[in-house]
């Protein structure tokens, strides 16, 4: 059973008062992550919205020690910290329980510039959690495209809409043969919470990607973050799944869509709610462009359904 939102612990690691926009999905997600991780953790941050909103030196709005690192280095930096802690523990220089080491990184720092070092950390199976909060663009620098930006989306570097589909980063991480991979999003906090608890209690490399609908980049009303997140899942544009030791299972409400028990909501509704697809939706070829996006979603659903049949 998924933990109910009513039963989440009272622990708050995200302190009140920080620089994020109202309705920020990254902050919302981090709050749930904090409830699952508790205070005994060390946080690494790459340049991103979560850094811009964390507060100024030496304070921070997240109640962990937080190391700011170079953009491309989430994987290797987290590896450096955990190896240091583990060897210091072996040598008797670190009292208490080993802290959880986790990186809190955007899609830019995960899919693009940080891909290499993350891949290497996964291949080494270092004992860390990499969180990717995926707002499908470089939001902090003013919304440019990333490898996570979906086809058709406006960004400042794709002014007529991106012409390529996004890549399936979570699946790529799964193919590193790591013990735990999961996807989540802010509309399903109990699901996210449970996944983080699992990751915390699994030794080795863990990857959790959280879809983070950002009102600024996606161009919707600030109050609708959770609704956008829910619509992404119901349309199949975002799939909720987890893989323990390579065995994939789908979580609700994605599971019935994958099993064919329930149809995904048509993607058009989801797209219409967002200004970033405006140009595409208003063009004379709108129906064809929407069909392309629907095609990307259908392909991912079909692929993940088949991939899940392979268990180790």
């Amino acid at each position: 059973m998924t933990t109910s939102i009513k039963n989440l612990p009272d622990t708050e690691q995200v302190l009140s008062g920080n620089g994020a926009c109202g309705g920020c999905p990254a902050t919302m997600a981090l709050r749930i992550v904090g409830k699952a991780l508790g205070p005994n953790a060390i946080m690494l941050l790459t340049p991103s919205c979560s850094v811009a909103s964390m507060g100024m030196t030496p304070k921070l709005g997240y109640n962990w020690p937080g190391l700011n690192i170079c953009f491309a280095t989430a994987g290797s930096s987290a590896s450096g910290v955990i190896h240091a802690l583990e060897v210091m523990k072996e040598k008797g220089r670190l009292p208490g329980e080993l802290p959880t080491v986790f990186s809190w990184v955007g899609d830019g720092g995960t899919y693009d510039i940080g891909f290499q070092s993350l891949s290497a950390a996964a291949e080494r199976n270092d004992n860390i959690i990499h969180f990717c909060y995926n707002n499908e663009a470089y939001s902090n620098t003013g919304v440019q495209r990333s490898g996570a930006t979906p086809r058709g989306s406006f960004t400042t570097t794709t002014p007529t809409g991106k012409s390529q589909p996004k890549k399936n980063m979570a699946l790529l991480m799964l193919e590193h043969n790591i013990p735990y991979v999961a996807t989540a999003t802010v509309a399903y906090p109990g699901d996210l919470y449970d996944k983080v608890v699992k990751a915390k209690n699994t030794p080795g490399m863990k990857y959790i990607e959280i879809l983070a609908p950002c009102y600024l980049g996606w161009q919707f009303d600030m109050a609708d973050t959770v609704q956008m997140s829910r619509m992404a899942v119901r349309s199949g544009a975002w799939l909720l799944w987890e893989a323990e030791n390579g065995n994939i299972s789908f979580n609700n409400p994605t599971a019935p869509i994958i099993n064919g028990k329930k149809d995904a909501a048509p993607v058009e509704e989801y797209l219409m709610k967002q200004g970033r697809f405006n140009r595409l939706l208003k063009g004379s070829d709108a129906q064809q462009r929407i069909a392309e996006i629907q095609g990307d979603i259908d392909r991912e659903i079909a692929f993940m359904r088949e991939r899940a049949k392979i268990s180790i």
Binding site: P39, N40, A41, I42, L44, V51, A52, M54, G55, M56, T57, P58, K59, L60, Y62, N63, W64, P65, G66, L67, N68, I69, C70, A72, T73, G75, S76, S77, A78, S79, G80, V81, H83, A84, L85, E86, V87, M88, E90, K91, R93, L94, P99, Q116, S117, S119, A120, E123, R124
Partner: protein
């Protein structure tokens, strides 16, 4: 009874690995590049067979090697890594994080010319290109000096929270066998106490590190780093002196000199070519020229005061640079020296040659001939 020092034959690269082992490091991220690879291989083996209780992290590139190094250092570990040439350049962004974050990582850079085009052999463009990254830089001229300097570097770095790069030439030092004296471990432990960082990433003390600053705060951090790099000079001297007291070995402190007191012509160079230059000095002396050698061990901070103090009156200084100072005629050492002397020692003449680029051999006679030719100019 006190253990005796041991004398072995060893390469510079392996001497470096032995020094790292005796420094009892905790974490070694590593990535291969010729001619540095031998250091990483030796350390990986020592970790694997239990000789060294540390973690070897086989990262996927040098940018990650330095990232893992600084992060491990921030977590409270004593950290070492090594690289050469393009590997060092690839680290550039993270070198600044190490110094700006005040993390006392020690790294060997085995000097090699940089791409393009490719070369495998020594010159000093790699380390000199990183002059302004906020790292302290030693340059060494023998295998023994490499060993001794790594231990001194850990001590100084941890006293002042600034990372230190220990440079020495590829092949001429890294791959050549020379006698190496290994002091007893208890002496090294006495010289280099365990690393006790002033702060580390500790959940009991949640705080941010290297986070966003306002302009005034940023400027203050930068000024502190600039000041502290200069303040390292007395610590470098003290470390050399105390190392000598404990082990009996001396390579110079900020500088090393040879037959300098009455010299009229002073050769100035760093690394292995400076070892060969001693022999050039002897040749010149036999030819009736009052020659001497001045070898900076420290390049950052540049030991200006010490150089001003030791240069004999009216000397001609022949700077042999194994690097280019693009946009100026000649090399970077000459430029640094002129900067140090300007307005302080107007009696000194500075002449400059760029030599030995891409590993071109620099035998003693060739350098002696070159210095004689420079005297004519």
């Amino acid at each position: 009874m006190k253990a005796a020092a041991q004398v072995i034959m060893d390469t510079g690269a392996h001497a470096a690995a032995l020094a790292v082992k005796s420094a009892r490091v905790d974490v070694v991220p590593g990535y291969p590049i010729t001619p540095q690879t031998a250091i990483m291989e030796a350390l990986a083996a020592m970790v694997e067979n239990g000789e060294l209780h540390a973690r070897f992290i086989p990262v996927e590139g040098e940018h990650s090697a330095m990232a893992a190094a600084v992060a491990a250092s921030a977590a409270g570990a004593r950290v070492f890594t090594a690289t050469s040439a393009n590997g060092l350049l690839y680290m550039h962004e993270v070198l600044h994080m190490a110094s700006g974050g005040r993390l006392p990582v020690v790294m060997c850079n085995v000097n090699r010319g940089i791409f393009a085009p490719w070369t495998l052999w020594a010159d000093h463009q790699d380390s000199f290109a990183q002059r302004d990254t906020g790292w302290i830089q030693y340059h060494c001229s023998s295998n023994q000096e490499v060993f001794n300097t790594i231990l001194q570097a850990f001590r100084v770095a941890e006293q002042i929270n600034i990372p230190i790069m220990v440079n020495f030439d590829g092949f001429a030092i890294s791959h050549c066998l020379m006698p190496l004296t290994l002091p007893p471990q208890e002496d090294i432990d006495r010289f280099l106490p365990p690393f006790e960082p002033e702060w580390r990433l500790d959940p009991a003390h949640p705080s941010s590190f290297s986070n966003v600053t306002m302009a005034a705060e940023y400027a203050t951090f930068r000024q502190m780093l600039a000041d502290d790099i200069l303040a390292a000079i007395p610590l470098v001297k003290q470390a050399a002196r105390e190392y000598q007291e404990i082990t009996g070995m001396w390579d110079g402190d900020t500088i090393d000199t040879y037959r300098l007191e009455d010299a009229e012509v002073v050769a100035l160079a760093v690394n292995s070519m400076a070892a060969e230059l001693r022999l050039s000095v002897d040749i010149l002396r036999q030819q009736g020229i009052k020659a001497g050698l001045l070898r900076p061990r420290l390049v950052v901070p540049f030991p200006s005061e010490d150089i001003i103090q030791v240069l004999p009156r009216n000397a001609q200084v022949m700077v042999l640079d194994r690097n280019y100072n693009y946009g100026h005629p000649g090399g970077i050492l000459a430029q640094e020296l002129k900067g140090a002397l300007f307005g302080r020692r107007n009696d000194i003449t500075v002449k400059n040659r760029v030599m030995g680029i891409g590993g071109i051999d620099l035998p003693r006679r060739l350098m002696a001939d070159e210095i004689r030719a420079m005297m004519e100019e």
